[in-house]
Amino acid sequence: MTREITLAKAVNEAIAEEMRRDPTVFLMGEDVAEAGTPFKVLAGLVDEFGPDRVIDTPISEPGFVGMAVGAAMTGSRPIVDLMFGDFLYLVMDQLCNQAAKTHYMSGGKLKVPMVLRTNLGATRRSAAQHSQSLHALVAHIPGLKVAMPSSAYEAKGLLKTAIRDDNPVVIFEDKLMYQDKAAVPEEAYLIPFGEAAVLREGRDITLVATSSMVQVARQAAETLASEGISAEVIDPRTLVPFDEATIVESVKKTSRAIIIDEGHRNFGVTGEIASRISEKAFYHLDYPVQRMGAMDVPVPFSPALEDLTVPTPDAVAERARAAVRGELADAA
């Protein structure tokens, strides 16, 4: 049985199911209890599980992420809610120096099974400190797993997998998608890490898109289809681990690829994925792998400017057309 539920509801269900299943799971963050977060994603959980398992914290991000690490080392499975992805900068030390390295530094003796839930995504007119997509930063750090759900279905399945994982996992939700609905089974399910989803099959070009950009890629693919261009759309779903094989296979078939990601383009996710493809599908490529990321500027507040900074379906389609036509802008 499937029904359509919002991404917010999918997250809520994932947490509720895992908290019912395992009493060591608990939740902490700012205004997660009565308020259920500003996005209302966690509404109702405190009623079922009580304030002892759904814990409102002071505005102390480094503090409560550090506490999650210690709790995880001693038998608990904390889920931390970081209200905006932009606050990742505040918790990098606890996340990257402590959580990510503890298992390794202890030679495998100490485990840190914790989940950091946060978000990404611009065009909400929230300006430079509430609009960033910072997943590239954590994907760079060994010891962290990184998941990027692109719909309610993935959000639920990946989060459940994250909560059961014995390692620190950072999961990024697209804050603009919380009210978007998708088909989600009634029955419990998990989505394994490291398995990309081929969302649409195609022959002419591969669109590799993450999180918020999956919708953009799908819309571009629709447009392209109406023009007779057949685009394959792949969502890696996790950056660490990364399902290189599925993507490389696809590009070997299509001979062209565009990577679309809402993080900044420079020194970010698109470069990693593009260079993996360029290396592994080298002899199959008919056209340079194209990268589309958020523009390399702080996110501007003005709607007139902000909308220019994020890849759009039209822009993706335009790049795809050029690639299929074999037109190079400046790679002469």
Partner: protein
């Protein structure tokens, strides 16, 4: 109400400034409710006596740092409605050319180093400005505004320590409005805020943040002393926000009662109470108070009307101002020499 100044001009200006803040916020709220404002914003209404009482003790050379709830500080420090509304609406004529918006308004000319969307994020900046003043031998004082919720950020303790060690001319002004977002202060702050500052050897004060004269009186003394090298100081100001945490926070029964809100508005409104005092002291008549209100409201509405018609920045601005001295960032980062 303490009598802080004998200069009636100053009283009238303080009154006007408080009314200006209220008028600004009422219009901003209206813009949001009528879906004309992008994003969301945090109303300062109710806390006017804090910003005005403190900023009236400062010169244009003195600096402030502000918060997500920053319109009040911005107005109090001397900003104009027009450039503020343009900023809130993302227009080119805004203080930040529309790039900052409500949460990042800065007004360099009047010493406002900017609002900040990271809770506590400006505590280092304010303390660094004070270090700069001391090092460069300039005599400006910096006031760091923040909320009760921000006291949970570790950064504050780090910079208080350095400010105390090096006797920096900075004043930490904590506006305790009883809530951080949807949570009561007592649920997120253990012990005592003044004791936290005192533990670093910092002189701490508590004052009624609804009493503009009491705030101004204390602020003038502390600013003077900070200028003489007797800082830093900490002030906790008891106050209240009338609206929700942000403009979209409409149903708030689950975290605070309508009665509580009504009580503050009826008994402790900083503008009403100060207006009554001005009247009772014979400084302004009831008619003059009304006239001031009307004039300021008209000014605000005119500014809104102007801003709504003002131009958005050109698309070409999107990669400008990323780097000082670099016209367009995109070719620059790719190594195109300019």
């Amino acid at each position: 109400m303490t009598k802080a100044r004998t200069n009636t001009e100053d009283y009238v200006r303080m009154y006007r400034q408080m009314v200006r803040i209220r008028a600004f916020e009422d219009n901003a709220n209206q813009l949001y409710l009528s879906a004309k404002m992008p994003g969301l914003t945090h109303m300062y209404s109710g806390q006017e006596a804090v910003a005005v009482g403190i900023c009236e003790a400062l010169t244009d050379e003195d600096r402030i740092t502000s918060t997500h709830r920053g319109h009040g500080h911005c107005v109090a420090k001397g900003a104009s409605f027009l450039e503020m509304f343009c900023e809130l609406l993302g227009r080119e004529e805004g203080y930040c050319r529309g790039k900052g918006g409500s949460m990042h308004i800065a007004d360099q000319a009047h010493g406002n180093l900017g609002a900040n969307a990271i809770v506590g994020g400006s505590m280092g900046i304010a303390t660094g400005a004070a270090l700069s003043a001391k090092r460069l031998g300039r005599d400006f004082v910096t006031v760091c505004f923040f909320g009760d919720g921000a006291t949970a950020q570790g950064l504050w303790y780090e910079v208080m320590n350095m400010a105390a060690l090096w006797r920096l001319p900075v004043i930490y002004a904590c506006e305790n409005n009883g809530y951080s977002e949807y949570t009561k202060t007592e649920e997120i702050a253990a012990g005592s805020l003044t004791a936290r500052a005192e533990a670093f050897g910092i002189e701490a004060h508590k004052v009624d943040g609804q009493d503009v004269l009491a705030v101004n009186d204390l602020a003038r003394k502390l600013v003077e002393r900070a200028r003489r090298g007797e800082g830093p100081f900490f002030v906790e100001l008891d106050t209240y926000r009338y609206h929700g945490h942000h403009v979209g926070d409409i149903n708030r029964d689950y975290y605070r009662s309508k009665d509580e809100e009504a009580a503050w508005k009826e008994r402790r409104d900083p503008i009403v109470n100060f207006g009554k005092w001005l009247e009772s002291e014979g400084i302004l008549t009831a008619e003059e108070l009304v006239a001031i209100n009307d004039e300021i409201r008209a000014e605000a509405e005119a500014a809104v009307a102007y801003a709504l018609d003002a131009k958005y920045p050109d698309a070409g601005e999107v990669d400008m101002h990323v780097f000082a001295g670099v016209e367009h960032a995109l070719p620059y980062i790719d190594g195109e020499r300019t």
